[in-house]
């Protein structure tokens, strides 16, 4: 039970690195973007983990309840922004992939490099 308090952070580290691995190793550009999305989501998990307070509830103040404690609102605000940044990056990346496919006829990195060498 003691160690479970860190479990979230371990999952954060593992998921982060699974995404990172996909970004650097996979050859397919869409796969890279999926990896990038996982990579960013892992960071969201880290921030949200910090905000939890034992026995607290979401930071929306209930009227008439005085002894309630609330979790930390700040990491939530930051992550709301970060999620938006994540989806924006993904959309832009996908638009590039579509253009690459049209220009090169492939979305595999090694094909593209090979085609650039030829020209």
């Amino acid at each position: 039970m003691e160690l479970l308090g860190y479990y979230n952070y371990w999952v954060f580290a593992i998921v982060l690195m699974v995404g990172f691995y996909a970004v650097i190793v996979r050859n397919n550009l869409i796969k890279k973007l999926l990896g990038l999305a996982i990579f960013q989501s892992a960071v969201f998990l880290m921030y949200i983990t910090m905000d939890k307070v034992e026995g607290a509830t979401a930071p929306i103040i209930q009227e008439g309840v005085t002894d309630q404690i609330y979790s930390n609102p700040l990491p939530q605000v930051l992550i709301l922004t970060a999620i938006v940044v994540g989806v924006s990056t993904t959309a832009l990346g996908l638009a590039m992939v579509v253009r690459i496919k049209e220009a090169y006829g492939s979305i595999e990195e090694d094909d593209i490099i090979a085609k650039d060498r030829k020209s």
Binding site: T57, A58, I60, Q62
Partner: protein
């Protein structure tokens, strides 16, 4: 309290089963169904947890999930439809 716990465990088990189907496939339709089911279970889990935490007003969230899940699945269907159209057209061109 214990009722919520049992319900949550049941939902978690169903979620795991749905996930297993999504991972194993074998056909894409299995996976689409699995994703849809997973979405439904998430809705239920959120509803149960909202009651568990004593904040039933958070049912809003479950509602949002339910609505959006539907759109996601429709997008998948449309994706398959347009792909099939493409395939048919290619087949026609080849015949010609």
């Amino acid at each position: 309290m214990s009722m919520y716990v049992i319900v949550s465990i049941a939902i978690l088990v169903t979620m795991t089963l749905a996930l297993a189907r999504a991972l194993k496939g074998p056909s894409v339709y299995d996976r689409v169904l699995a994703v849809n089911m997973f979405g439904t279970k998430t809705v239920l889990l959120l509803a149960v947890v909202a009651f568990f935490y004593g904040r039933p007003d958070f049912l809003d969230l479950a509602l949002a999930y339910a609505l959006i899940n539907f759109v996601g699945i429709l997008a998948v269907l449309e994706f398959f439809q347009s792909q099939r159209n493409d395939d048919e057209e290619q087949a026609k061109e080849q015949e010609e």
